[in-house]
Amino acid sequence: MRQVGYYPGCSLTSTAIDYHESIMGVAELLDIELAEVDDWNCCGATAAHSLDHAAALNLGARNLALAARGPQPVVVPCALCFNRLKTTQHELASDTSGVVAEIAALGGDYAGAHVVELNRFLTSEGIIAEARSKAVASLAGLKPVCYYGCQGQRPPKITGHPAPENPTGIDRLLSALGAEVIDWPYKTDCCGASHSLARADIVHHLVARLYQEALDRGANCIVTGCQMCQANLDLYQQEIAGQMGRAVNLPIFYFTELMGLALGHRQTERWLARHMVDPLPLARSVKTA
């Protein structure tokens, strides 16, 4: 069994529990042990970097110091947590003077954490081949567009992403598992992220464009690897469809859920039942295909 570090972030312990459960399920199927970073803290998200740069730096520094102590790499499912950790690491590489003594006391090996976004970790050639060999069902009939969002790719200087404008990992994985993946130009467009409470209108405008394009291209679902994207696309779908004056019924899957489906994890339906747009009819049509 292979052991890697795991930084879940706050959302995956509550509103995105379905993502967390499917990650655990997939790790089990692939014989990977996810060792949670001991006593990790919130990454600070948009709020910290917007209002308090010193807090953002210190929250990141503490996570990195703790992550460096465990197994490597440290995989991060949330694109924003990933971006915050990488940005902090970049800043700390040249200047650690802003770190408070209480956190500096953790050892200060900020560069020792090898931070990798989960969707890149799980779409390496090796893992795709392994997933394909372990698959018990084909995802044929599923016509997804893959939606990566923003924070996992940009800016490439920080994220190290080789193709920030056209990531292909999830596309390749799902194609290997039999899905009829549809290419589209909105892979890395923004969903509005943290605006969903204070400026819902911005999120609705951006998400409507994504639905429109996905439907025009004949997609029957959208697949993502970020729980903020998933929430913005899944939670308000009927409201946004009403504003668009167009029927929208697009289940929003996590790519890990579809891995569970193809590899036959017994709890897949339990994860899917937590969504707002019911993905079960489409998921079941796939299974029997």
């Binding site: 990790w40 210190n58 509005g192 992220a193 209108d201």
Partner: protein, 211 residues
């Protein structure tokens, strides 16, 4: 000999159309580089490197909701027009999606400049153009400062109380959504926190917990 096309003396370019006088005509703009230098010193953002190509703005997904386009933010910063920047909704509407920084030929870190400007507003006396966004960020940070992690229930309560919407239509829509999520096992009733919390005081020393 072939005929050479030459500009006839009588076809002089037309004079620019009349434009109504604005306040700017009465008071000519005097660019002041002090702010630009201060930002560059504080953050390392190379504002002066911008040559106005607008690539940042062409790729920005939220210009439809902005009062200043991203390149205008850089331009005003070059000129030192800080008050216009502090009063703008753009700095709050920016979704930090990093598209502009990724595409800028001069690596002008616009998202970080937006953060810098938000911070000067949050710490100063000028009201934020997007007050609810500021309240949301404060509610979020209040949770982090208290527990080291974010408890969504606590954050929502803080946000709704401060935006005066605890019983308004927005709160009702959120409550309906909250219930639907609760039924699906996606809302926890009890907060979770980091085991060690001694470091929180040092990190958030300047913040009143709960603000």
């Amino acid at each position: 000999m072939s005929q050479q096309v030459s500009a006839a003396p009588e076809s002089k370019p037309a004079p620019p159309p009349e434009r109504p006088a604005t306040a700017a005509d009465a008071e000519p703009l005097r660019p002041d580089g002090a702010f630009m230098r201060q930002v560059e010193r504080d953050t390392g953002i190379s504002i002066g490197a911008c040559y106005g190509c607008k690539k940042c703005s062409n790729g920005c997904p939220v210009t439809f909701a902005m009062d200043l386009h991203p390149y205008q933010v850089v331009r005003l910063a070059q000129f030192g027009l800080v008050e216009s920047l502090r009063a703008s909704s753009t700095i709050w509407v920016c979704a930090s999606c990093q598209t502009c920084l990724t595409r800028c030929p001069n690596e002008v870190d616009l998202p970080r400049l937006m953060d810098y400007l938000k911070q000067t507003v949050a710490q100063g006396q000028v009201p934020a153009a997007e007050e609810k966004t500021l309240v949301f960020h404060r509610a979020f940070l209040g949770e982090v400062a208290k527990r080291g992690r974010v408890f969504e229930g606590g954050m929502m309560a803080r946000y709704l109380l401060k935006t005066g919407g605890a019983f308004g239509p927005e709160a009702m829509a959120n409550a309906k959504l909250g219930l639907a999520m609760f039924k699906r096992g996606r809302l926890k009733l009890l907060p979770h926190r980091t085991r060690d919390r001694r470091w929180l005081k040092a990190v958030f020393k300047a913040k009143e917990a709960g603000s």
